[in-house]
Amino acid sequence: MQRNLLGIRELSAGEVAHFLDTAETFREISEREIKKVPALRGRTVINLFFEPSTRTRTSFENAGKRQSADVVNISSSSSSVTKGETLLDTARNLEAMGPDLIVIRHPSAGAPHQLARVCRAAVVNAGDGAHEHPTQALLDALTIRQRKGRIEGLRVAILGDLLHSRVARSNAHLLTKLGAEVAVAGPGTLAPREFAGLVEGEGSLRVERRVEDALEGADVVMVLRIQRERQESAFFPSLREYAVHYGLNLARLARAKDDAIVMHPGPMNRGIEIASDVADGARSLILDQVTNGVAVRMAVLYLLAGGGAAVSSSPGAPADAKADAVAPAEEKPEAALTARATDSTPA
């Protein structure tokens, strides 16, 4: 049975909640003196990164190692075209090494889906082009839930380059699935009106022309990273103008609720999309996001390796896999972390 995490869009609200609940239980492990449990002992995780990444790769690496998995990092700065090897060949070669999990980051949307079609190993999408970054959305949701106690009914503003952002897409899917009211805004070139069509489930999603309107009464403010090279492709005139008109500063933040929290997926361009006094302010949860990233990725690796209920988001997954996916966990992760320590039965 193929079990992958390719995107948030294919997950049900129940499946999202299950990931989050499992991640909660994993948070504690990272606070221990000995940050290691044997949950994934004997399992091999390959981190396959076709894009430079420090934060996400390290986060997945820690998530694997803290569960005693063997973690292999493969970095390739080139896509299959420049390398002369097709993605399919790369996949088959990795598959021949018998990994249990492949974590892939790739500049082309859909690369994880293509990998998943030929691999027996579970595939985790760690960001594919402008498509999805599901573990980022999960860690963002975990962070919000910890601070606000819920997602449903919250007003969330997402600001910046929505067109090219996989973080924005995954968050739009996740937050609306869980019933949040999402407002997005950015320069007209980067905030297409059609973005409202990404709404899922019970929540709502609206595209505002002005950043100020999206911020009005927000409980949560998410700021997206601006890629400097977008200026050269004529999406906006200058970084200076971007900072003045679209950046999050204290004056703009005042439109949000007094207890609004501020998030950013990193790495930040200080003084461009986010002012330093906001990024370093009391309402900023940017470092909590990083901490939660490890917990979420531990949960994802654990669940996809066969712990607890199986989760499938493979578009072509058979019906029984879907049925399995929503089944309640028969085994509490906490139990697994102790009892399973000596359990060597493969899933």
């Binding site: 299959s80 082309s108 949307a109 578009p315």
Partner: protein, 440 residues
């Protein structure tokens, strides 16, 4: 050499024929259309077409045969074999080979290879500009003498309106149709699929419908200015169809074709990132598909053409962003049209024959084709509109397998193809089926 196709149902819009008739062929030409049982010519080979539709040979206005230069994708022989297996007696070979068909030497090579293959008729289409680079006119007159039937810079288009104007004026003098691939590159902006809800959801760069529509509007205006015969290739958008509709109302010689994948699929088919759903123009949203169906119904669309674009499996195994545009189509086009247009009630069989034969012959001025009048070339397509069959890409006659229709089951098929009086393809299942029918 005599061939009698008997007991079939003959549809030929050029003669207003839609009735049970026998077709007598002699020496590569149509000798006569006969009432059933009118005569039993001595010594003729007899093709029993009981329960089948007999039509003038189908013509694909838009085929990429890849030879010369990319024989690993397709050759003229393999492409011609796929063509006749799909019911096409003739194909029009696009010039974007390597080298480009922009001079009479390449044209002659194509004609010669096609003659050796001896399957489908292959009509070369020459380039508009040298190397299809958009800067200097290609030798249209010399290529015409060598056998081209039209000109196009397909795959690229002609970005400069000024250059296109000159090309149309020059081609008009030679009575050659100018076929254009409508795509404003600055608007398409490197898009790999249709810009819309699905491109946004999938995080793939979108090319807006407007990229096609604005060039189509430009070409229609240039057709009026120059008086040239203008044919718009693979039209896929509501706006381009509206431009053609208006041009026709004004009495201009503007024609257009649509590709089967554009009426059979929407951009939602891209959702699993299967690179066999990547082609240019891209699969469009429902709104545009509806407009294509409307154009097929109301006569705005002149022809169904495959845009058969073979690519090797290794090339299609790349990321969606990097895989080449294009899908094969010769062996599925007629079946898709029977299934999705005729059986779905969009058009009748007579209109289908117009779309695949009568009109293509008119669009590229192919003398003695697209008709079964006495004296015409004996090119015939035989259809079994009721045959149910499943397409298995691994058994394709094409050298490439890049189709989104692998494993699809169709209602209706082309079951035999006659070229110059020779039965060059006959489907095995059809024989089995007609055998069953004759027993009943």
């Amino acid at each position: 050499m005599r061939l009698l196709i008997t007991n079939g149902y003959l549809i030929d819009p050029t003669q207003g024929l839609n009735a049970g008739r026998d077709l007598l062929i002699e020496d590569g030409r149509v000798a006569a259309v006969l009432k059933r049982g009118e005569s039993q010519p001595e010594g003729a080979q007899v093709f029993d077409a009981t329960g089948l539709v007999v039509a003038p040979g189908f013509i694909d206005l838009h085929t990429h045969l890849r030879e010369p230069g990319q024989e690993y994708k397709e050759t003229i022989a393999s492409g011609a074999a796929a063509a006749v297996a799909g019911g096409f007696a003739s194909v029009c070979a696009m010039p974007n080979t390597d080298p480009v068909n922009d001079n009479p030497a390449v044209t002659s090579f194509i004609v010669e290879q096609a003659a050796q293959a001896r399957l489908a008729n292959v009509f070369p289409v020459g380039a508009i500009t040298k190397g299809s680079k958009g800067a200097e006119l290609a030798e249209m007159g010399e290529m015409r003498r060598a056998g081209i039937v039209a000109v196009t810079d397909d795959g690229r288009g002609v970005p400069s309106a000024g250059m296109m104007r000159r090309a149309m004026e020059y081609a008009r003098g030679l009575d050659l149709a100018v076929m254009d691939h409508c795509e404003d590159r600055s608007l398409a902006a490197g898009g790999v699929m249709h810009e819309g809800e699905w491109s946004l959801r999938l995080g793939l760069r979108g090319a807006p419908a407007l990229a096609e529509e604005s060039d189509a509007a430009r070409d229609c205006a240039l057709a009026e200015l120059t008086g040239a015969r203008v044919h718009l290739a693979h039209v896929s958008t509501r706006g381009a169809l509206e431009a053609v509709r208006r041009a026709k109302e004004r009495g201009l010689f503007v024609t257009c074709e649509v590709a089967p994948h554009h009426f059979a699929l929407t951009d939602e088919a891209v959702k699993d990132y299967d690179t066999n759903t990547k082609m240019n123009p891209p699969l469009r949203s429902r709104e545009h598909v509806e407009a294509i169906l409307e154009g097929l119904r109301d006569g705005t669309v002149d022809a169904v053409a495959t845009d058969h674009a073979p690519h090797h499996a290794d090339e299609k195994a790349l990321e969606f962003d990097h895989a080449p545009f294009g899908v094969t189509g010769l062996e599925t086009a007629v079946a898709l049209a029977l299934d999705r247009l005729v059986h779905a009630g969009v058009v009748g069989l007579e209109r289908l024959v117009e779309l695949f034969s009568t009109n293509p012959a008119r669009v590229f001025n192919l003398e003695g084709r697209g008709t079964l009048r006495a004296g015409a070339h004996a090119d015939v397509t035989v259809l079994d509109p009721e045959l149910r069959w499943t397409f298995d890409a691994s058994r394709s006659k094409s050298k490439s397998r890049n189709t989104p229709f692998d494993g699809w089951t169709f209602h209706g098929a082309a079951v035999a193809t006659v070229v110059a009086g020779r039965v060059v393809y006959r489907r095995a299942e059809a024989e089995a089926q007609s055998a069953v029918r004759s027993k009943n």
